[in-house]
Symmetry: C3
Subunit: 109 residues, 3 copies
Amino acid sequence: MRMVIAMVQDQEVNALLSALTEKGHTATKLASTGGFLRQGNTTLLIGTEEAKVQEVVDLIKEVCRTKKRLYSPLAGVERTINSYIPSPIEVEVGGATIFVLKVESFEKI
Amino acid sequence: MRMVIAMVQDQEVNALLSALTEKGHTATKLASTGGFLRQGNTTLLIGTEEAKVQEVVDLIKEVCRTKKRLYSPLAGVERTINSYIPSPIEVEVGGATIFVLKVESFEKI
Amino acid sequence: MRMVIAMVQDQEVNALLSALTEKGHTATKLASTGGFLRQGNTTLLIGTEEAKVQEVVDLIKEVCRTKKRLYSPLAGVERTINSYIPSPIEVEVGGATIFVLKVESFEKI
Ligand SMILES: Nc1ncnc2c1ncn2[C@@H]1O[C@@H]2COP(=O)(O)O[C@H]3[C@@H](O)[C@H](n4cnc5c(N)ncnc54)O[C@@H]3COP(=O)(O)O[C@H]2[C@H]1O
Ligand SMILES: Nc1ncnc2c1ncn2[C@@H]1O[C@@H]2COP(=O)(O)O[C@H]3[C@@H](O)[C@H](n4cnc5c(N)ncnc54)O[C@@H]3COP(=O)(O)O[C@H]2[C@H]1O
Ligand SMILES: Nc1ncnc2c1ncn2[C@@H]1O[C@@H]2COP(=O)(O)O[C@H]3[C@@H](O)[C@H](n4cnc5c(N)ncnc54)O[C@@H]3COP(=O)(O)O[C@H]2[C@H]1O
């Protein structure tokens, strides 16, 4: 058994959950926040047989894609009329970040 | 040290947390959502000594039980008067799904 | 690759995330609740190279400190005028609880 922990963008979660459950996978969704951009995203926990890990990763790859986002570092900070407004920087926000951890034991009650 | 990750039903969380803390265990609660039914549930993270894992799993078994739920696949979807309404399907929602992962190192600050 | 799972107090999260991202670390924030005090706290997931784990742990130590909190066991429970009100007990709430788990494989899409 493996635990796949994937951080994905909110707008791709529904499509990803449908794709996973259609193939018989089970996932649990946690609302999360990115530590750098401080914007909402989603963390999925997907417990799966070792033999199915590649299928889960491939499904995530298919549904989630990398895209560039403009990010204003001082967005949301009170600005006076004369203060310096840095131009937005382009940050590449990944389609998904995937960690696979070994599970020592698994049980359904 | 082990990390027990348990997905349990919301209605059993309070009883389970009381049972765990009474026996000296410490847990952290995360609000979560089921990937299939898209309904709210709870994910618990319980860091515990390897020797206590069985006691934690037994406590979860005692408090959480398996039950059948009727699930309407299109619940919440806008329906017109003539559209097909599938009859609810019976889904067995487990009392709990439990993963135990090894912890390489643990520290309290 | 390692997954650092850290439970920290809400009031220290912003400072900790700034300290981590300044050093080039990436973290994901999950809103959580303590199982004993049932108060809100924060769980961070920080995927990091094995060689950087110590730096991450040291950053958490620097920002989060242990402090004593007064806790009223029946806080929030309806009380009549004559009922017994237990005196608050002092609980030492840790600055942080840190678990480090091995990651079998990691991928960014
Ligand atoms: N210290 C830093 N300095 C400069 N740029 C930084 C940075 N930390 C992150 N970034 C950039 O900002 C994007 C958003 O990061 P955020 O932490 O908000 O949101 C992250 C975070 O929630 C999660 N994530 C990614 N890697 C992670 C890791 N190693 N551990 C935990 N969570 C991770 O996935 C989201 C998207 O990450 P992604 O890598 O695609 O995209 C990242 C990355 O391109
Ligand atoms: N391997 C795993 N990895 C991550 N999280 C897991 C997991 N196994 C269970 N969970 C979590 O526990 C909840 C209850 O699962 P259970 O298997 O008892 O009860 C499940 C199962 O009986 C059924 N089910 C789940 N996925 C299915 C699928 N792809 N096809 C058919 N039935 C499914 O629907 C019930 C509710 O599922 P839902 O996803 O809403 O909610 C799940 C999910 O949040
Ligand atoms: N092994 C573990 N596994 C999972 N999560 C863990 C953990 N150890 C700590 N945490 C998380 O960190 C928070 C602070 O824990 P700390 O040990 O500093 O401070 C704790 C501890 O001093 C005390 N405490 C916790 N459980 C207790 C119990 N069963 N009996 C007596 N005191 C307890 O109450 C404080 C607040 O606990 P609370 O549960 O509300 O909140 C906990 C919990 O969310």
